[in-house]
Structure formats: C-alpha cells, structure tokens
Amino acid sequence: MAERSSVFDMIGPVMIGPSSSHTAGVVRIARAAIRVLGDQPEEAEITFYNSFAQTYEGHGSDRAIIAGLLDFKTDDKRIKKSLDHAKEKGLKYTFKSVGNASTFHPNTIRLVLKSGNKEVEVIGESRGGGVIRITEVNGFTAGFSANLHTIIITADDRPGSIAFIADVISQDGCNIATMSVSRKGKNDIACQVLEMDSGLRPLTIEYLNSLNWVHNLIYIPNID
C-alpha cells in the first residue's frame, strides 16, 4: 500500500501556481538536472513532450523550467519573472515542442544543458502533485525522484561492483531506498542509480570517485 498522506499534503504544499504538475514539478526537474550537470548551465535546450507540448506556455511551465535552471525553489515568487532573471544571468535557452511521443509519460521534459565543455542530457516526468521522476541521464535509464539523496555512478561493468558500492555506502550508515542498474552492453559501462534516506560524507564520495573503475560519480542531495 502507498504511504499515507500527511496533513501537509492536504493543506499544502505552498507553491507557485497555477498547477503542481506544470510549475512545482517542472521546477524540480530542472533543479535535479543542474545538479547532474554540477554547474549553473550557460545554455539549455528544452523540449516539452505530449500534453506539455501544447500547454507549457499557458501554464507557465517555460518560466518554471528556467526558474529551476536558475536554482529557484518551488515556492519562489521570482518564478513568474524567471525569463528576465535568465537574461540578467546570461542563460541562453531554446524551447521545442514534440507531440505524440508514445514511449514517454504525458508530461515529459528533455533537457540538454551545457556549461563550458560539459554537456548533459536529462529526461524527467512530472507526475502530479509536484512529484517527479528523472527517467534518463545521458542515455542511461535512471528512475529517481530527487526527494531522497541520490548517487549516479557510471563505472566499468564488472562482477562485484554493485555489492562493493552498496557496502561502502552502508559504512556511512546510509539506508538504500531504491537502486537500479542499466548498461550499454555486457562488460561495457554500467550506470548505477541509488537513492538513500540520508546523505553521504564528502570523504566517501571522494573515495568512490577515486576508484579506477569508476568513471563518473554524481551526487544529488535532496533537491528541496
């Protein structure tokens, strides 16, 4: 059974209108995405899919996504004027609409973000009530909600790597809530996504990152 709601789901959340899936959820997708990039983006290519494709302007999802890219929170009154703030901060962006993408959830957004020579691609769904799911990171299947602490590790696909990482994390007293692994091919590169109830120590992150079979590690603490 799904977890029971809180009093603050009934009287709340405090948010910027008009709709939690078109504003709050969209802001959160962008906030998760800039953490994947690890930097303030200089350029962003934003694609709205399916039901978002038509309604993103009317619902202000364009301003919501830019606000999230500027790291504004979901109840920040500046969301309404985020396009002006983007101009000030020199964030360049383009919007695209794509309909009929049947493999995607109705409210899907794809973000390609650039900063210096870094570039990431993130796909996220806004599932209602401000709840999101990041489904893809750089072509790997991801599947995290960004309301816990998340690490995304791309590493050589070799026996024992998953158990090893889980063990290291457990030494920090972290409880793993969800975990998924996807890979491009056997013995190729695998991407592991772990959601944890509490955060990791900087030292642990540094250690995991230093292993020679780990290519890249992204750590995303709770985005709210």
Partner: protein
Amino acid sequence: MSFLFNGFASWKEYCETQQLKLHQPVLEYETKQKGRSEEEVFNGLLQAYEVMKEAVNSGLSEEMSSRSGMIKNGAKKVYNHPVTVLSPEFQKLISRALAAKEVNSCMGRIVAAPTAGASGILPGVLYTLQDLHNLSDKKIVEGLLVSAGIALIIEQKASLAGAVGGCQAETGSAAAMASGAIVYCLGGSVDQVFNAVAITIQCMLGLICDPVAGLVEVPCVVRNASAAAIANSSAQIALADVSAVIPVDECVDAMGEVGQSMETRYKETALGGLAATKTGQQISKRVLVQDIEILPDEDK
C-alpha cells in the same frame, strides 16, 4: 492509529472513547505517522494560513493577468462594486475566494488545499470567518487540522484529483473541508461538523472537470467562489442541527462512485463540457502552442 482516517464514523468514535476534541486525532496522526512534533505541525499550518491570507491580499490589491488573458483582476472588481447583492460580508467572501484563486492562475504563491485548482476556497472562507468572529489564529489552525482530517478521508475513500474524480473531487472536497472548519470553529458538535461535510458533498456531487484550453482558469476561478458560498450555506444548515439524512461516510462513497463512472472527457482532459464549447475551442486554438513537431505513430 492509522485506522482513524478510514472513515468519519471511526474518527468520531475515537474522539468519544479517548475524550478528544475533533482536531486532536489529526494532530496525533501527523505526529505519530510522520514524526513531526506538535509544535512543528502547528507552526507549519500557521505558515500555510499566512500564505493564504497573503494570496487573498495580493489578489485584492495587485494588478495581475494570467498568460491567456482569461483571468484579469476579477476579484478586485467584485470587492469594489457598489451594488451589494446580499451583504458586505458575502461580497467580501466571494471576492476573497476569487482573489486567492486568481493569484494561483497568475503564477503567484498559494497553498494547494487540497489542490492548486481549489486554492481559493479555504483562504476565502477562513479569512472571512476569522474577520467576522474575531477568532484566534490558534482556533483557525485547529480548523485547518479538522479540514486536513476531512481531506485525508476523502482521499482514501474517493479522490482529491480532478483527473480522477472530476471537479467534485477538487473544489467539492475543498468546500467540504471549509464547511467542516467553519462549524468546528463556531463551536459545533462533531455530528454538526460531519453533517456540514455531508451536506456540502451533496451540493457539489457530480461536478465535472472541464477547464477551457486545459488551463486552470475557466471555470475554476468562479467555482472557487461558488464552493466558498456552498461551504457557508452548508455550515449554516448544519449548525442548526438539520440532518444531512445520508451519513457523511456514505456521501463520500457516493462521490467516489460518481467519480469512477464519470467519462474521461470530464476529467481534466479538456475534451468535454465548457472546454468543448465553440468559444472554448476558439480560445484553446489561440492560447495553446501550435508549433509542435508530431512524431509518427509507433508501430504496434
């Protein structure tokens, strides 16, 4: 403890056996289930109420327009209109509910209660109630706890989402929450509070969700005003001990049943009702993004 919010009957029974006031089991639920202290819950709700009042005030004072242009300063016009239909209080109630919901449509800050589409109802009702009866913030927060308890049960037995249960689930639930809060704050008995909820649901039953162009603007804004009015009329009836006849738990079941059998075109899809009218269609052509790349159908 979690048995509590499975229904109104068990909520009442728990209050009676434990000698509690109606809001206390809700507070207990939140502290036990979610690990928050009573103080945190109280302060959190007080903050939410502050945001509600702020939304009312900014809707009544600031210039604002929604992106589509359909919503534009309506609340201020109502508030300042020289002709008073019933009483100044009624005029204020209506304009306050409109104001907070307009702020929502214009990308301002609001409290989803229970949803963003219904975010004008509790602010309009509680603001007016506190104003008229000189209630303390503490009393209002207790009223909000009662509202939350009502919504927790409706969510469990029916739904709070327009896309699942139609507009009865959104503005209808908010009206039921508000009505229960009024009766509670004015010292009504548990039965009277639950009667107010039952009567409100009876009045809002069957309302479809048909937003023009899929935007949370028309008819959503005016429905926040009418729901606020219904919350008050039901409270007035319930306080006088007039029975709803059909018990509140059964009213909620009816709402769930109606929601389930409602056709999808009446559930936020913008395919039926007002959204499907000639003018609704024209507006949707004008305000929706037309420049869309359409992918070919996938082969099955």
